[in-house]
Symmetry: C2
Subunit: 344 residues, 2 copies
């Protein structure tokens, strides 16, 4: 597999978006967020998305020069209309705009509506953790999985992320979980490798359980009613609260909402409002150590903290580079050629 | 099974706590929260707890005359030291104190430390929904389930609750989910009925999977690393953030923390800060209807919204009364006799 350095990959992605008319600062955000996902081993949310993002620009679904409206609705509350900006641009803007109100008010919240593809949610909560803030984020999208007991796709795999800083800015505790039991990536992988799926992961087009990757269509919500309920609540806390319902529009189909329109929400918490930052770091580190050294069940080599797998991958890939499948590498280079951007 | 009216049960519980020295207003909160759980069909969190609560008072674990300290740390941030107050008293106080700052600041947050048994978390988010607010709540307790891959109890079954108002104050959308795949109640039930447990629900004392109710000891986190990570993050967002670590103390065992000390956190969101309340209600109702009328998989009679099962049970029990097992009824009446409180 070709190996590409994070730096080179960032340079390339940024230049591609600039070539497509995006402001350099926003193009850098796009590059940083996509390459972050690759560094963390979440390749499904990384540069493999570039081709589709460019198509979305062509189709008018993603706006390279969005007129983002940031409204301060109250001392601790922001409402951001993204005007089809890529999620990375809109959500990072939201995270950055929360720093000040969180600091003065203790807690602050931003809603983001009408953005295009949120990207890896952990990117935004990790960013806030780097700045010393605890945060909760969620995002909502179009239906991909069935509501618990339903036969058709009726919920997004809406993720929830929680992160806290630990004093080492590169390795916060960060949970980033979809409300589906596994991601669609597992299905793509099983199809590619000709393997079976585990029971309870997927259902077919009629909502019947299947382990056959060829017949599987929709991932199931985790823990049945729990993942299902969480996904629905996230739609209420993001899309409905910001006045841009995604799910109702998609289920009712009387209008034609953008299939890629997404909503998000971030709550940032200023740790020193509640506890001295150093004490907080010490306690989270003590807890982390205690968890890491727990006795393990047979067959388990190592207990991983939330976000640790991604951190370990990032540490390795920052040194050794990011492996990209040849097909992805070729696709990126062909995009580069068309746009007069120096390839990888 | 004896049937008791909610009113009579509230009267009884309240009088018992007053007889034990609690202020009448707090005793009424205790009665309201316990009977709420019974009305909603969550009998495990209802009046069955009374005997243990009274023991906890005797053992100095629960304080009937707590000196609760409410500190305003910032415009949107409260920190509440509960001084071993029962969770119902401390968490309801937190919810009520969030109304005003949420209204003026858009969002507000309260941490609650050093309380004794949180009770049903949905009680507090439902209460905020009744007042027209959206909310997120979480609470942390001592280890009951293994961290993903660990062989010993190392995490609380820490619940997360999200609720939004829908315009009918008695039936908000309210999700209240433990981070375990099922509650300990399922184990108690299986033992009582002599039935097996479902695979993936419980492990034995050594952390090995079992469906044998006699050998089962700990519930597993839902979806493995997801429930496990969520529980750990909740400990960080509640106990650690408030400076009263529960998990580290329990795992380190170099001090002797109260086995019943719990922490909680509530974030209240003022809906009209973001969207006109009527529009919000209309949209949540539209979404609810669309979910309810989705095509169902074979064998499913009805799709339930988050909190709907509890609402339906409450509607029925408010009219027909609350069925209490004879053993529970006898236990309560014997408590009443000892304290000169008129029985049920």
């Amino acid at each position: 597999m070709p190996i590409v350095s994070a730096e080179n990959l960032r340079r390339f992605i940024s230049e591609v978006f600039v070539a497509r008319g995006m402001a350099p600062a926003n193009a850098q955000v796009m590059a940083d967020s996509l390459v972050w996902a690759n560094l963390r081993g979440v390749d499904s949310h990384g540069v493999v998305r570039l081709q589709r993002y460019l198509e979305m620009i062509d189709e008018g679904l993603m706006n390279v020069v969005p007129a983002i409206r940031i409204e301060t609705r109250a001392e601790s509350a922001l409402s951001i209309h993204a005007d089809k900006a890529p999620g990375a641009v809109a959500m990072r803007l939201a995270a950055d705009h929360l720093l000040k109100p969180a600091q003065t008010q203790g807690v602050a919240m931003a809603l983001v509506s009408a953005m295009t593809h949120t990207g890896a949610l952990g990117y935004y909560t990790s960013r806030l953790a780097e700045a010393g803030l605890a945060s909760i984020a969620m995002s909502a999208s179009v239906p991909l999985m069935p509501y618990h007991g339903a036969a058709i796709a009726s919920l997004g795999t809406n993720p929830l992320s929680l992160a806290v800083p630990v004093g080492d800015e590169s390795r916060p505790l960060v949970l980033d979980m979809a409300s589906s039991v596994v991601s669609l990536g597992k299905l793509i992988q099983a199809r590619r490798n000709g393997t079976s799926l585990e029971p309870g992961w997927f259902v077919d087009a009629d909502g019947n359980p299947t382990t056959d990757a060829a017949r599987a269509k929709m991932p199931l919500p985790f823990a049945g009613a729990k993942g299902s309920g969480l996904s629905l609540m996230i739609e209420c806390f993001t899309s409905v609260l910001s006045g841009y319902s995604i799910l109702s529009e998609a289920l009712q189909q009387h209008s034609e909402p953008s299939p890629h329109r997404q909503s998000g929400m971030i709550i940032a918490i200023h740790v020193p409002t509640f506890i001295d930052l150093k004490s907080f770091y010490m306690e989270v580190q003590r807890l982390s150590k205690l968890i890491k050294t727990l006795p393990r069940v047979r067959g388990v080599d190592c207990l991983l903290l939330p976000g640790e797998r991604g951190y370990l991958c990032m540490t390795e890939r920052q040194v050794n580079g990011i492996p990209l499948p040849s097909s992805v590498c070729d696709e990126l280079n062909s995009i580069g050629t068309k746009l007069n951007v120096v390839g990888l």
